[in-house]
C-alpha cells in the first residue's frame, strides 16, 4: 500500500498530508491521556505497536504472483480506539520511508490515511457492528482485522486513481487497474492478518482479561471463556 516517493502530484501530496495531520495529533493526545489515566495499559500499547511493526515488515507472496504485506493496525484499533493507531502507523511508515526508501515523505500523508486512518476506523466499525449482532468474539476480531487490511489497499488504489485518472475511462477505469494490482493481491494476506490477530487476541484474553474488560473489548470474562 506504499505509494512510492514522488509518485503523487504536488497538490495531492500536500492535500493528503494536511488531511492526515489532525489524526496523528489527536491520536497522540488520546494515547497520552490513556497512559496517564491507566499506566498499566502501557504494556498492551507496546503489544499493539509491536504487532504493526512485525506485520508490516512481512512481505508475503500472493496468488497473483506479486508480494505485499499486511498492516497489523486492526488489533491496536480494537484495543485503543482508531485514533491511537494514526501516530503508531505514522512511526512505522516514517521508518520505512526514511531508511528503506519504501513509501516516501511526500506520500507519507496519503499512506497514513490509508494504513493508519481508514484501516483502523474500519476495524472498529466492523468490530462494533459484529458485536452488536452477536457474532462470536473470535469471528468478529477476524472480520475486523482482515477487512481493515483489505480496505487499506482499496484506499491506496482510490488515491492513485484520483491522482492518475485513466485518459479514456477516468477515475473508475484507473481505480479498477490499481485495485487489480493491490486489492486482489491482498485478499489472502488479509485472511492471514485476520487469523494472526485472533491468535494474539486469544493470548490477550488469557493474560490481560481485566484490561480488556476495562477497554470494553470483552464484556465479561465468563462470556469469553464459555
Amino acid at each position: 500500500m506504499h505509494i512510492m516517493e514522488g509518485f503523487l502530484p504536488v497538490k495531492h501530496a500536500i492535500g493528503w498530508s494536511i488531511a492526515a495531520a489532525p489524526f496523528v495529533v489527536y491520536g497522540l493526545y488520546t494515547i497520552n491521556k490513556r497512559i496517564k489515566e491507566k499506566p498499566e495499559q502501557r504494556m498492551l500499547l507496546g503489544v499493539a505497536a509491536a504487532f504493526t511493526f512485525v506485520l508490516s515488515a512481512l512481505k508475503m507472496p500472493s496468488v497473483t504472483g506479486s508480494c505485499s504485506h499486511p498492516t497489523g493496525t486492526g488489533l491496536g484499533a480494537i484495543l485503543f480506539g482508531p485514533a491511537a493507531m494514526a501516530p503508531i502507523g505514522a512511526i512505522v511508515l516514517l521508518f520505512q520511508a526514511i531508511l528503506l526508501a519504501h513509501g516516501g515523505l511526500t506520500t507519507l500523508g496519503a499512506n497514513i490515511i490509508s494504513m493508519a486512518v481508514v484501516g483502523p476506523f474500519a476495524a472498529v466499525a466492523i468490530f462494533r457492528s459484529a458485536k452488536a449482532v452477536k457474532v462470536p468474539f473470535a469471528l468478529s476480531i477476524f472480520l475486523a482485522a482482515s477487512c481493515a487490511d483489505l480496505l487499506t489497499y482499496v484506499t491506496t488504489s482510490a488515491q492513485l486513481a484520483f491522482a492518475f485518472p485513466d485518459p479514456a475511462g477516468g477515475f473508475a477505469a484507473s481505480f479498477a487497474k490499481f485495485a487489480s494490482v493491490f486489492a486482489i493481491t491482498q485478499i489472502p494476506l488479509a485472511i492471514s492478518e485476520g487469523l494472526l490477530t485472533v491468535v494474539v487476541m486469544n493470548a490477550l484474553v488469557r493474560f490481560n482479561a481485566p484490561e480488556l474488560q476495562e477497554m470494553k473489548v470483552t464484556a465479561a470474562v465468563q462470556e469469553v471463556l464459555t
Binding site: 506504499h2 505509494i3 509518485f7 502530484p9 504472483g65 508480494c67 528503506l100 492513485l160 488469557r206 493474560f207
Partner: protein, 111 residues
Amino acid sequence: MKRYQNLLMMIAVVALVAFPLWMVKKPAPGPDGKNVEIFSGADDKAKDLVGTIAPAYKPWFKPLMEPPSGEIGSLLFALQAALGAGFIGYWYGSSKTRAKMRREIEKEARC
C-alpha cells in the same frame, strides 16, 4: 481447545503463504530472452502502472536515502520485524510467568 484453535490458525497462515509459492509458476522467458520476474512487490507494480496510465508524469521527489543493496534492505526489514517480535515475546513470557506465579500463590494460600 483454545490451544488447538491457535495451532490450526497458525497452520492456515503458513498454508496461505506456501500455496502461492507452489501454485504460481514462473513463466517462460519472453521473446527478448529476459527472465520474467515473479513475486515482485505490488508497490512496484503500481509504480509501473502509473507509467502506463500517465506516461508524461515525472516523479518530483527522490528518496533521501536508499538501501545500498537488496541485502541491506532485508537487513532493515528483518530488524523491524525482530523489534516487534521481540517485544511480543517479552510480553508473552512475562504474562505467562505472572499467571503461573499467581496460581501458585493461590494454591499455597489454600493449603
